[in-house]
């Protein structure tokens, strides 16, 4: 069986539609996961009673269970008890919750590097604790956590392929759907592998640029 490139050209519009859905779901989920990350890391930092334990449990639960089972739980399990979400929002919820747990840990790691001496220095300059967090702790923590946070965002993009299993028409779904009728598995999977590779490479490149940009004030 030879590699049929012309076949891929005919399927290009469908693949583009799938790619668009993948990008849309991923971008929205990345934003929401960052929100969860900031909230969770804040709760952990200020040691809010009760909530801190809840956040810790959430992080452990997400990190120690397969994302596939989390997705099935959200999409098939929750409707059984009356909580029905659309296909799209089930996917967004799953990806955001998954990446959010990692973002909490990433940010917490960054905040942990903010030195005690800095806080004392801030106090000596008569900064309030809120000013200290806004002006000093957060900018430093973000720079330290950035590589890990961008990695999580890239992982989220890859994991959006799991949404194929519940039937959301993203890139992998389009490919598998076409294979069921045309049996062109090698062509289709090669095509989406190249697309995913390109996406990850572009994101990694942008991430590198951003890191270099943010490091500039610290270089001699």
């Amino acid at each position: 069986m030879s590699f049929d490139f012309d076949y891929l050209l005919t399927q290009w519009p469908a693949l583009l539609d799938g790619l668009w859905m993948t990008l849309q779901v991923s971008a929205l989920s990345i934003l929401l996961s960052l929100l969860i990350g900031v909230l969770g890391a804040g709760i952990k930092l200020f040691r809010l009673p009760g909530l801190t334990q809840l956040v810790a449990l959430y992080v452990e639960l997400i990190r120690n269970t397969p994302i596939l089972v989390q997705l099935f739980f959200i999409f098939y399990g929750l409707p059984a008890v009356g909580l029905k979400l659309s296909l799209y929002w089930s996917g967004v919820l799953c990806l955001s919750l998954w990446a959010g747990a990692y973002q909490i840990e990433n940010l917490r790691g960054g905040l942990a590097t903010v030195d005690k001496g800095l806080r004392e220095a801030g106090a000596a300059l008569s900064l309030s604790s809120r000013q200290f967090f806004r002006l000093i702790a957060i900018p430093i923590a973000f720079r330290v956590s950035l590589p890990a946070m961008l990695n999580t965002a890239i992982s989220l993009l890859k994991n959006s392929a799991y949404l194929q299993t519940i039937g959301l028409a993203e890139l992998t779904f389009v490919a598998v759907d076409r294979i069921a009728t045309d049996f062109r598995a090698i062509e289709m999977f090669t095509a989406i592998c190249v697309i995913y590779l390109a996406l990850v490479a572009v994101l990694a490149l942008l991430a590198g640029r951003l890191e270099a940009h943010l490091q500039r004030p610290f270089q001699q």
């Binding site: 120690n64 397969p66 989390q70 739980f73 992982s155 890859k158 598998v176 598995a185």
Partner: protein, 227 residues
């Protein structure tokens, strides 16, 4: 909860399959990671580049695409793969990409002067590697590698998608059966139980990873794999 008792034999079979899958993949992953991870620390530029390309390739492609590619693609190339073999192959390729990075990082974390001192004492390169460098690198490698094992166990759930009768698949079959025969949909409870069981297994592994990290003292942090 009665479905747990009713289906106990079936459930334990699924769990055993999950563990079998994880162990087989762990074995192959360890072999490949040890060999290629070591080769990646050598001077040859071509070798390093080739291994780097392999690592980046399998870390960039979604795991589910990787497994589907092998499962649906192999028959078209005239290769007959069972679902078990397809999942094992897919997860091993992905797992070793992560494992290679851990082994390479661990070996490189051993200070250069350890090589030089051993060389000055007249040890052969092979002996230096085996008796001086590997034992020290294990301190950095073991916690990260246990973390990878957690991800491997989680990733075996992909078996359910191509028809391996592992734990998640068993859950799906139980849901189908009860919905068709009893008219009730136990999806919520079944998936909650499945989540809980994975949670117990992976938490134990995560705990082991943290314990090793504490026990072995401060080591250079290796890149943490992510699914």
């Amino acid at each position: 909860m009665e479905f747990v008792i009713e289906n106990w034999g079936f459930i334990s079979k699924g769990l055993l399959m999950t563990l079998k899958l994880a162990l087989v993949i762990l074995l192959f992953t360890t072999l490949i990671s040890a060999v290629l991870g070591t080769l990646a620390t050598l001077k040859s530029r071509t070798l390093r580049w080739a291994i780097h390309a392999y690592v980046e390739l399998f870390r960039s492609i979604p795991l589910i695409v990787n497994v589907f590619f092998i499962f649906f693609g192999a028959p078209l190339l005239g290769i007959d793969l069972s679902p078990f073999a397809a999942v094992t192959l897919g997860l091993t390729l992905w797992g070793s990409a992560n494992g290679i990075e851990i082994v390479r990082g661990g070996l490189l974390s051993v200070p250069r002067h350890q090589w030089k001192s051993a060389w000055a004492l007249g040890l052969r390169p092979w002996h230096i590697y085996l008796y001086i460098v590997v034992p020290q690198s294990l301190k950095a490698i073991l916690p990260a590698y246990t973390g990878l094992l957690t991800l491997l166990v989680q990733a075996t759930s992909l078996g359910a998608l191509v028809g391996v009768g592992e734990f998640l698949k068993v859950g799906q079959i139980i849901i189908e059966r009860s919905t068709m025969m009893g008219g009730v949909n136990p999806a919520f409870t079944v998936y909650a139980v499945v989540l809980l069981v994975y949670f117990v297994i992976c938490s134990a592994l995560t705990w082991l990873s943290r314990y090793l990290e504490r026990r072995l003292g401060r080591q250079p942090r290796l890149p943490q794999p992510q699914s």
